[in-house]
Amino acid sequence: MKAHPVLSIQRSSERQLSNHGASGALSSSLPVLSSTLEEKYSMLPNCQQLLMERELVNTNSLALHASLPSNKGVVGPMLASTSGFSTDLQFSSVVPLERHSRKSFLISQSSDNGASMLLTHHSRTLQSTMSSNSDCWSKESLPNFFEYPVNTPSMDIQAGSNNNGGCVMTEELCKQNDWQVWADQLINDGDSLTSNWNEIFVDTNIEDPESKEMKSATKILTTQPQALQQISSPSLESSSLNLASSASSAPNKTRMHWTPELHEAFVEAVNKLGGGEKATPKGVLKLMKVEGLTIYHVKSHLQKYRTARYRPDSLEGSSEKKLTPIKEVASLDLKTGVEITEALRLQMELQKCLHEQLEIQRNLQLQIEEQGRYLKMIFERQSGAGDLLKASSPSSLGSSSAQTTDNVPSSPSKNEPSCSRLDNGESENARADAITASVQLLSGPTPSPQSE
């Protein structure tokens, strides 16, 4: 299974690089590429773990663990694949699975490119487990690996490597963003590659605001995408290559998730090297020995660290420029020292209040969604069982919605603004309420016999 993705990436990378006219450099680096890709694949889980420590809701453990939040350039138009720009042929072939594939793309959208391979794969699994509990691992894995052919601008290549219908056409929209991002990963992974890639990316270290890419993307979307495909692809390439350097002033858009522990390690390393001014990113990187950490991460973090340390006033003031300085008032009159303390106290109280409310609100939101999902699952199971006994399904659905309508009026009273009350005991009723909601939701697009 591993061999396939490696090969596909290889192939597509080869094509892309040749598109960029760097084929010379490429051929020598290909063997290096393949080995690095293997490394990359083994490293990815670590990377993701490092990056994604916080995961909240995990109903389908494996799939959702893999379908991690993005830490880099997003693959928005992957969704577009089936629906958007595909030809009728492709679309029709997808129609029975329409919802499925859409959903799978949805889930897999905002992920690492490399990770996305695993992701799409997992998302398919997720989808299938959610709906039909079938195991399509081996069958689906291959096509999935082709779903992200990593943006080749030219159509013929896409046509060749495409296994999965509409996703081809969206590549130019995925933007070489992905390619760049994916390529960046390779940079991160292997020092050996760095020199090769640097050659190729000679002109990519150009800062460009992210918004530019988004604007151009939207522009392209609003016009005929297929017509634009070939025309705009060169501009897309360049804009996305430029874009990649925006985030951290380096051709690397991977976002590192810093934690206090990681920062502690950073500070230790810095101190060992003689302090914030003396320490070099490379030295710190070596000392820290954290997998997945790149020199770009360290560089930007070091910069922030220096700013915070050696210019604390400017840092504090930078984000609060509009703040009327209290200090000025304090210097005028000693009495106002009391005022200031009081003002601070008040401010703190208010902030605490907001904090608390936000926590509560967030927990509620999570619970609501979780219960919605749970009920959806139940509902689907129910309707799945109902298919076997066709006659009973409308009536069973009808009866369940009839039941739950009784519970509807009581729902607002149950949801008190304190999480402690929404415990499992209450959730039964809340879930029943949500059945109605999910019934409405799911029966929306498809005509169903029962009335609501």
């Binding site: 958007g84 959208q109 905002s110 509009k322 009327t324 003002a343 902030q351 936000l358 609100q361 008190e416």
Partner: protein, 260 residues
Amino acid sequence: MKFGKRLKRQIQESLPSWRDKFLSYKDLKKLVRLISSAPAAAANGSSEYGKAEAEFVYLLNSEIEKFNAFFMEEEEDFIIRHKELQQRIQRAIGTWGPNGNQPSQIDYGKEMEKIRKDIVDFHGEMVLLMNYSNINYTGLAKILKKYDKRTGGLLRSLFIQKVLQQPFFTTDLISQLAKECESSIDALFTVAEEEQVWGGREAIKVSGEGIFRNTVQALLTMQEIRRASSTYSHFSLPPLNLPDSDLMLLFQLNSPIPIP
């Protein structure tokens, strides 16, 4: 449009550098209207419909990416600042504190004052970041709901699952840091206990901008959003009853920016 207005107000009151990082609710709404205003397309040309949907999703995804990027940048900053504050406290205690190297009440007091203010502001910023996260989430949930309603799609439930796991929505770390600030500020406030309990309103006028005003705005907005509306459903949050909302409305006065 109510949420849109509230969001706009929140953005106006927010810290300047944050203003363009919020959800482009209006744009997304326009897109939804555009999509739903062509219902024939949905029936006939599925590619047309699909294209519009793709555009919508693309926009959503880019918004999410925007949130994530901003959020993680800020989070990184907060982690660094948090550590620095702790070290400053240690240094102050160690140098000017009663048991320190050069005990000096004046210096200690001054430094502690500065630190207190910095902690409070730091805490405030973190909480505002959490608010940012939450309000964007709310906006996304609303726009997805609108989308599903107008187009009969099933985008919402799945998309929201994805959103729930995004870095910008996982605010646990920030919350933890904020709690630590709360406990340290409690400790520090008792250190410099002043007897007089002033009506701090006058002082508030002075410090009325920036974080404080933003916090007030955030709380009030939250309360307004959660008021029962016509579309109150099982997915809606319950009403929020803040104890001091009258007081807070008062703080909204002296607004330099005219609130529409």
